[in-house]
Symmetry: C2
Subunit: 152 residues, 2 copies
DNA sequence: TGAATTATTGATAACGATTCTCATTATATT
DNA sequence: AATATAATGAGAATCGTTATCAATAATTCA
């Protein structure tokens, strides 16, 4: 049994829920996806392995995984909620270029302790920290400048 | 003419768009809302003043305001995109309690310069920085503990 | 064991926020 | 004023997500 199965199982037990076959498939597949994924992405990946699983089950299981601390919300892209698994994935900053859609990630090392200090002051217990920055990547910044020149 | 009108107008001109009556109403009303608001909230507030404005226009204008740097995305609540105007509103951190829904805001003073340093390294030009933290506020943390005691 | 209770699931309908379409109207240009 | 272009309102269409519900699986208790 993998680490993440133990964690999920413990969480489910605490909530009086069971680690069913369907939930196990969702869990396993989440850890096979090493990119940000939407509920739909996950559903399709599972379907490629086994059949008969319902999209509804995926939607039902995802929040459980988030609450269990195994999965976190990632940056929202194209109107879809997106997720990523956490194990071996230190928290990070998402830099999303809203022109070409490129997503860069950097670490949260310097910022994390500051947040935790604030949290302590507020007596707030964070489950999920998301630092998302939208803007223009260097490439699209260049393009923009060129276009402006052409306009004149 | 208010400051924000000048800013919006400049942005529109740069894009070859016009500051129409409808856009002016959206703009003005945004600056009358001092809380986080959804597109629907904004639409209703405008309708309470004048009639004949369309929800589609609100949806069409909001991204323009974001790009003009007058409005920013705020924390997503109940599946709705939410916004807030920026003038006189230094960037901040949102702390959302996912149990009672309370939203606390704190400043980004310490963190902002760190982000901008990273941005410089990446040559990324941020338009919108959102630091959202979900978790439990002190009140709900207490409730949780009590409930666990009762369970035993 | 087996009946009764409860949890979980798959299929699909319903929902709701957002986007698209298009005919009409406003605005700018000549 | 005539023409071209941009913007609008109304409502239909889209699509991610949630709710419903009958069927199935797991669990409890007699």
């Amino acid at each position: 049994m993998q680490d993440f199965e133990i964690v999920f199982n413990q969480y489910l037990e605490k909530r009086g829920l069971k680690l069913t076959k369907a939930r196990r498939y969702v869990l396993e597949t989440v850890f096979e996806l090493h990119e940000h994924f939407s509920a739909q992405d996950l559903y399709e990946k599972i379907k490629s392995k086994i059949s008969g699983i319902s999209l509804a089950t995926v939607y039902r299981t995802l929040p459980l995984l988030v609450e269990a601390g195994l999965v976190q919300y990632s940056i929202r892209k194209e109107g879809k909620e997106s997720y990523e698994h956490i194990f071996g994935h230190p928290k990070h900053i998402h830099w999303l270029c809203h022109k070409c859609g490129t997503l860069i990630e950097t670490d949260l090392k310097e910022i994390y302790p500051i947040i935790m200090r604030y949290a302590k002051e507020l007596e707030f217990e964070p489950d999920d920290i998301s630092l998302n920055i939208r803007g223009l990547c260097w490439k699209c910044k260049l393009d923009d400048k060129e276009n402006h020149l052409h306009e004149k």
